[in-house]
Amino acid sequence: MKKFVFLSVLLTLTIALSACSGDKADDSSRSDESSITIGIPQDIEDSLDPHAAVAAGTEEILFNIFEGLVKPDSDGNLVPAVASDYKIEDEGKTYTFYLREGVKFHDGTPVTVEDIKYSIERCADTSGEGTLLVSAFSNIESVEIVDEKTVSIRLMNADTDFLSELTSAVIPAWNEDPAGNPIGTGPYRYVSRVVQDSIQLEKFEDYWGTPANITNITLKVIADSDMIVTNLKSGAIDMFCRISTDQANELAGTEFDVYEGTMNLVQAMYLNNAFEPFADVRVRQALCYAVDAQAILDLAFDGKGTVIGSSMFPAFGKYYMPELSNAYPRDVEKAKALLAEAGYADGLSFTITVPSNYQQHVDTAQIIVEQLKEVNVNASINLVEWETWVNDAYVGRQFEATVVGVDASTLSARALLERFNSDNSKNFINFNSAAYDEAYQAALASTDDAEQSAYYKTCEQVLSDEAANVYIQDMASLVALNNRYGGYVFYPMYVQDFAKLYVRE
């Protein structure tokens, strides 16, 4: 026994000693200035293949590795990327793209028009053997190679909004394993990953545009949100996006700058319009009158965020209607009267399903429950795992109300408004309005920009008038960045642009 104890002590000591040498190695790697470690809340679990990736958390990272024919800039414009120029003809039926001179993939091979054709057809499933990966691509009639610098896409129906879909990544046609060996044209190239631990990116030296500033990026998975501040303070990570207001307050007075932008999400209590009480527009309106969005912001979000009144957020300036945010000012009496009119004078009970991994939605739901008590509405919260929410509430549409945030996958009003068409497969709230469908179809058919915007605004107005959902806010997005670095920019979409980050002198 004594011998065993002695051995154990020896072993522990050895480890403790090796610790000291470990510390020094650590210090030297820290002084390498052209690297940054960025914390991410979850590993990439859907796919590194940009066409198969679906999670917002994945897409915001892949934004740095892959590019489409065009890409969004931080002002919300579409700028040419792999294509240097484009032409829209036949009132939006033919899109012609001119391949940019000298665009290379990460392995050094030049991008060809065949790669472009392959990438589009792969997502459009023109062969019919795979799956349609970009729903708007179902409108593609054919993709033709005109010459070795020109590709032309013909649509079945004219669509002037189609350009925003062409941010879809261009990948090499010859890559047989796009998920295991992701190759794109973006400012960073993928190097390696350790599952559930980290992902390594490296600056792509042959990038066609403004090159990235920082050479090496480590994306470190921080699965426990309680450890974010600790890991920032310890120096293990230099940056973390979308921290909470509490976390931002904890970082006050440290070497971290907190940048404030918008999350570009429509946070709302989404109402299943097929659930009996909510089928009555008066009940939905009563709920809107009963909920005070500004109070939610003040109580749970330190007053940060923007109150919204329809499925559109301020970053989409062209379509955003600020006046709708005040369509239902808090009015307890009016809410009670509407409920009584609808036959719920004695009150109403329903369940709010909330994915438990999103604290900000849980917080919002809790305040809503309290506010609804004043109008004799008894709501209870049902916390579920994210996968359960997707399966039951989103795909199965088995819910009464739910608090979540809905984002836009492209730079187009369509990304937010398409789902409320009565027959859309993503219409999880079962919204059904003839006026809406009509306005939306008119917007799609329109080839005039101003006219189209007007139709989209009609759609937003209908969502507000019909009280489709209890709209709350576009949340504030808080980003913590060590003040040794600068250059963080917000986009009107759910993306992170690592290429603009730089090390301060």
């Binding site: 403790a16 650590d26 599952v195 631990d197 921080i222 450890m227 997707v390 399966n391 993503k426």
Partner: protein
């Protein structure tokens, strides 16, 4: 020999039952790998297509049968989330979690056994009383809380380590072990307290037995009696307890990996459960069950060696 045969059958039966239960659980909980992979891009058509691609559209028993057959051949399939083979993933992660568990186990033994013997020997003494009070407090603190305290005190205040900067043993073995020392202490703390308490009371009880009085009457000294006779007998409940503790520590590692951002088997398990990546979950749970069974078996064998009476 009959003993070995019996044990082997019980091990295999345990693993079979565990693997079936995990499969069953995945059939019952909402969502599957296809839904999880598609997230909010999920449409009934895309889910159906992906399910077919993953083979999730086949009946439950066909899937379980297929899984079992290839598992017997040593093929645990490919992860849905990462596209890597499950064996390779586990091969990467298992050494990390085992290192963490073994490290905390060693820390526990090194601290608990001398303390247990000391407090039993000096029962009622001032130091014994102090240790027992501290013991009670440490036992009551949940490991994740002590984990957070350790990151704060040793990580942020004293800067003995950098919370969140875990590196794998493949990159730097020294830094790897250094980093793991802190979660290992967090896991070991409550177990040390429990072991001290158990060993102390076991020793005190044993010391009151007749054979001890006989040993003294033969002219033995306190230490001689304690180490040669009492400790040996008092160890038997402790060894059974230690076996349970070791398996408990593996479970503890799963929580600590989350707090200390250590990418071990626990993190893999938790993320795979939420993404419904059942090939990974199946393999990890069967493996953990195997470890639990083996450790208990080892304890059993050890007890039989220490006390011949158990053999009959």
């Amino acid at each position: 020999m009959r003993y070995a045969g019996k044990k082997l059958i019980s091990v295999l039966a345990t693993l079979l039952i565990v693997s079936f239960l995990v499969f069953l659980a995945f059939a019952v909980i909402p969502g599957d790998a296809a839904v999880s992979k598609l997230g909010t891009q999920a449409t009934p058509e895309r889910i159906a297509a992906l399910r077919a691609e993953m083979g999730l559209d086949r009946p439950f028993f066909v899937r379980y049968g297929n899984w079992l057959l290839s598992a017997l051949k040593g093929d645990f399939g490919k992860s849905y989330s990462y596209g890597e083979s499950v064996s390779a993933l586990i091969g990467q992660k298992l050494p990390i979690t085992l290192a963490l568990s073994v490290l905390s186990f060693l820390i526990m033994i090194v601290c608990a056994i001398p303390l247990g013997i000391y407090t039993a020997k000096h029962e009622g003494g001032a130091l014994d009383r102090i240790i027992m009070v501290v013991n009670q407090v440490v036992m009551a603190v949940p490991p994740f809380f002590s984990g957070i305290m350790i990151t704060y005190v040793f990580g942020l205040l004293l800067k003995w380590f950098q919370p969140g900067s875990f590196v794998s043993y493949t990159v730097n073995l020294g830094r790897f072990l250094h980093y793991l020392l802190f979660p290992a202490v967090a896991i070991a703390l409550p177990k040390i307290a429990m072991t001290v308490k158990l060993l102390r009371s076991s020793l005190i009880q044993e010391a009151k037995k007749d054979y001890v009085r006989t040993a003294y009457s033969k002219g033995n000294r306190t230490n001689g009696v304690l180490y040669r006779h009492v400790l040996k007998n008092a160890m038997i409940p402790v060894i059974t307890f230690l076996a349970m503790t070791f398996t408990d520590m593996i479970a503890g590692s799963v929580i600590m990996e989350q707090v200390f951002s250590v990418a071990g088997i626990g993190r893999l398990l938790i993320s795979s459960i939420s993404s419904r990546d059942y090939p990974v979950v199946e393999a990890v749970i069967v493996l953990l069950a195997l470890i639990v069974v083996l450790v208990n078996l080892a304890a059993d064998v050890l007890c039989r060696a220490l006390d011949p009476r158990i053999r009959h």
